[in-house]
């Protein structure tokens, strides 16, 4: 009986200790550094584990590289930028918790998360505390605009263009540049990014007189598309729109070409990865196009110096998430500079006033919906090389 008592005491104490430990962890973060210290704290809240970990990691890497460069050049307003990087585990409730923790550590702005869902998780905390959030790659329309009230979310910004822009751009490209009259859509249904692209492509394509002859879907993780491709082939499309991520798209295109589907194929920025060529092969990728934020092979000196620096630091080529993360950090630094002080509300105003900021993903101005007005590049694969169209 005494043993049982002792066990319960031990358990109780463990329980207390864990609470205390958890609290002290939180406490440290709350108490220390002040706003007017030597550094300007920037929160980086990205998906470093979980479903979209690879994208979050790359974006975070891009942002950290940018901050490193800025600090090396003297920092902002004479102070060094201090990045606080946390993992939101690809789930929105964790994103909310991370944002709250970061706010407790007195950040002046937050970069990330990546996916629209996780940005939504962060949004209430950022809005309540009036601290700007810069989303590098969230493309859903309702990220910056509350669709119920049609008002823009005050402190939420993004540096990438929207699903609607991308989908429409490709539709117009197909109709005008390639001159096709009908198309098939074969896109991923596992995330809102791809379903969004498909929806806007279809809208624009049909509104300009085109016909959609087939609409099929696949699931992220799929490896075999041949059965559905057979179905699509029999509908004889002149163009196939494949919104999704390169993991699936590369295999899909390869199988399509193997089956004798020779028509042009198009997609969105999710295609962007060197793995496309290694998986699908150069020949399969001929006559394919995608909308992107930037191209690794673009000879522009600013882009090339970014690519080299990224490769030197992380030992791999930067994808567009990395580029967007980089741009987000650089834009933020620019906004702080323009704001004149590291005050979140002033930074928000400076962000709203952004005009022609030279990002490596394009020159951008922030419009009244907190979205960037940018040129969308269409890239063609020719013998494994990327050519801008």
């Amino acid at each position: 009986m005494k043993i049982r008592r002792k066990v319960s005491m031990v358990v109780l104490m463990l329980f207390m200790l864990s609470i205390v430990a958890g609290c002290s962890q939180g406490g440290d973060k709350g108490g220390s550094a002040q706003q007017g210290g030597d550094t300007i704290k920037i929160g980086i809240n990205t998906e470093l584990s979980g479903a979209v970990a690879s994208y979050g990691t790359n974006a975070s890497n891009g942002a950290l590289l940018a901050i490193e460069e800025i600090n090396a050049a003297g920092g902002v307003l004479g102070k060094q930028l201090e990045p606080l990087s946390r993992d939101c585990k690809s789930v929105p409730d964790e994103a909310m918790s991370v944002s709250a923790a970061l706010v407790g550590e007195k950040i002046v702005a937050q970069i990330g998360p990546l996916t629209s869902g996780n940005v939504a998780g962060s949004t209430p905390v950022m809005m309540e505390n009036q601290i700007p959030l810069l989303a590098p790659a969230a493309t859903a329309v309702n990220v910056t605009v509350d669709e119920k009230t049609n008002k823009v979310r005050d402190f939420i910004f993004r540096v990438c263009y929207l699903d609607s822009d991308q989908g429409r751009r490709m539709a117009n490209f197909a109709l005008e540049d390639l001159g096709v009259k009908n198309a098939a859509i074969f896109g991923s249904t596992s995330d809102d990014y791809a379903t969004g692209l498909a929806k806007y492509f279809k809208e624009e394509f049909t509104s300009k007189g085109g016909t959609i002859v087939a609409e099929e879907g696949f699931v992220n993780g799929d490896k075999d598309f041949r059965a559905t491709l057979t179905k699509i082939k029999s509908a004889n499309p002149e163009f196939i729109y494949v919104p999704g991520y390169y993991t699936e798209v590369a295999v899909l295109i390869k199988q399509a070409r193997e089956m004798g589907i020779t028509c042009p194929i198009g997609g969105g920025d999710g295609w962007d990865s060197p793995d496309m060529v290694s998986v699908a092969g150069k020949d399969a990728l001929n006559n394919t196009f995608f909308t992107n934020h930037y191209s690794v092979e673009d000879p522009d000196p600013a882009i090339q110096s970014f690519v080299k620096a990224y490769q030197a630091k992380y030992n791999k080529l930067p994808d567009s998430f990395a580029a967007l993360g980089y741009d987000a950090a650089k834009l933020l630094a620019d906004a702080i500079e323009r704001a004149g002080e590291a005050d979140p509300v002033k930074i928000k105003e400076a962000l709203e006033a952004t005009k022609d900021f030279p990002g490596i993903t394009g020159s951008m101005s922030i419009d009244e919906n907190h979205n960037p007005v940018k040129n969308i590049v269409v890239i063609e694969y020719k013998d494994g090389n990327l050519i801008s169209r």
């Binding site: 584990s49 970990a53 690879s54 990691t57 249904t189 099929e216 879907g217 696949f218 699931v219 993780g221 799929d222 490896k223 075999d224 598309f225 041949r226 059965a227 559905t228 057979t230 179905k231 993991t247 590369a250 295999v251 390869k254 193997e258 089956m259 793995d275 290694s278 998986v279 092969g281």
Partner: protein, 286 residues
């Protein structure tokens, strides 16, 4: 249809591992799919870094995973041999998560691509079907491995020992069979087969990532149950059936519900004939 057979062959290999382990220690080894993933990665490094050809890579992966399987058994499952089934299942889940996240930790969550040179692809057009050399390779290797397995089980002393232990562990012990060693061998063989499947997946689908073992693992488990868990020919048949079913669903139905269909099959089987296609109904004696 052809893809169904190749896919089925891969599922069959993984299902065999599940069914053998279940037959011998009544444990659903959740980590089995992840052993497949490790095999795929080892094969990848063998080809990409060491530059070996694909057969050597597969052999290396198989041996490495056989060892891994034995280690896992000794460390995580053996201590629980007399515990409740729930305990063992939960430990298996733990091992599965451990394998996945340790791989992510050391190798990043990004996917890797099997170099195309590892396996030159040529397409053959036979009777209106397109057969790629990959399909042929996967199918034939799988069948060869299964034949070897059948030989081991039916003709060798080790195989006899395995069958004995799965029938009645205590009796086997009393007959002088080294139960521990037999169990280890079972794990080794099962894991080796999974590794082979992993390398094949890498070749067939070109890309691998740390979380690739979860869904195929579950589907292979369904295959094993479908054929009758604990019954080896059942696992083979189950595997092929699952592969074909999946391709059919993708083609005619919606690939969106493809994963759900796999589970649906499982539930239907469990409700109608839980012992599987080849299973015998051994009622629980009080």
């Amino acid at each position: 249809m052809v893809n169904g057979l190749s896919l089925g062959a891969i599922y069959a290999l993984i299902a065999l591992g599940y069914t053998m382990v279940y037959g011998i220690i009544m444990l659903i080894n959740f980590a089995h799919g992840d052993i497949m993933m490790v095999g795929a990665y080892i094969g990848f490094f063998s080809v990409a870094v060491l530059g070996t050809n694909i057969f050597v890579a597969m052999a290396v992966a198989m041996m490495a995973c056989a060892l891994l399987g034995v280690i896992i058994e000794k460390v995580a499952y053996k201590p629980l041999r007399n515990s409740t089934r729930i305990a063992a299942l939960i430990t298996a889940i733990g091992v599965s998560l451990f394998l996945e996240y340790t791989t992510i930790f050391f190798l990043t969550p990004n996917q890797r691509v099997y170099p195309a040179e590892a396996f030159p692809v040529t397409n053959y057009h036979v009777m209106g079907l397109t057969l790629s050399s990959k399909d042929i390779f996967v199918f034939i290797s799988a069948v060869v491995l299964m034949i070897i397995l059948q030989y081991i089980i039916k003709r060798t002393k080790t195989g006899k020992a395995m069958r004995a232990v799965s029938l009645d562990k205590e009796a086997a012990m009393l007959m002088g069979i080294n139960v521990d060693k037999t169990i280890s061998i079972t794990f080794a063989i099962g894991s080796a087969l999974a590794a082979a499947a992993g390398v094949m997946m890498g070749i067939y689908y070109n890309s691998i990532n740390p979380l690739m073992g979860i869904i195929p693992g579950l589907k292979a488990f369904v295959a094993a149950v479908l054929g009758g868990i604990g019954i080896i020919p059942g696992a083979m048949v189950g595997g092929f059936l699952m592969g074909i079913l999946e391709t059919l669903v993708s083609g005619y139905g919606s690939s969106l519900y493809r994963d759900a269909v796999a589970f649906g099959v499982l539930i239907i089987i469990l409700l109608i004939k839980p012992t599987g296609l080849f299973g015998k109904n051994t009622g629980e004696k009080v």
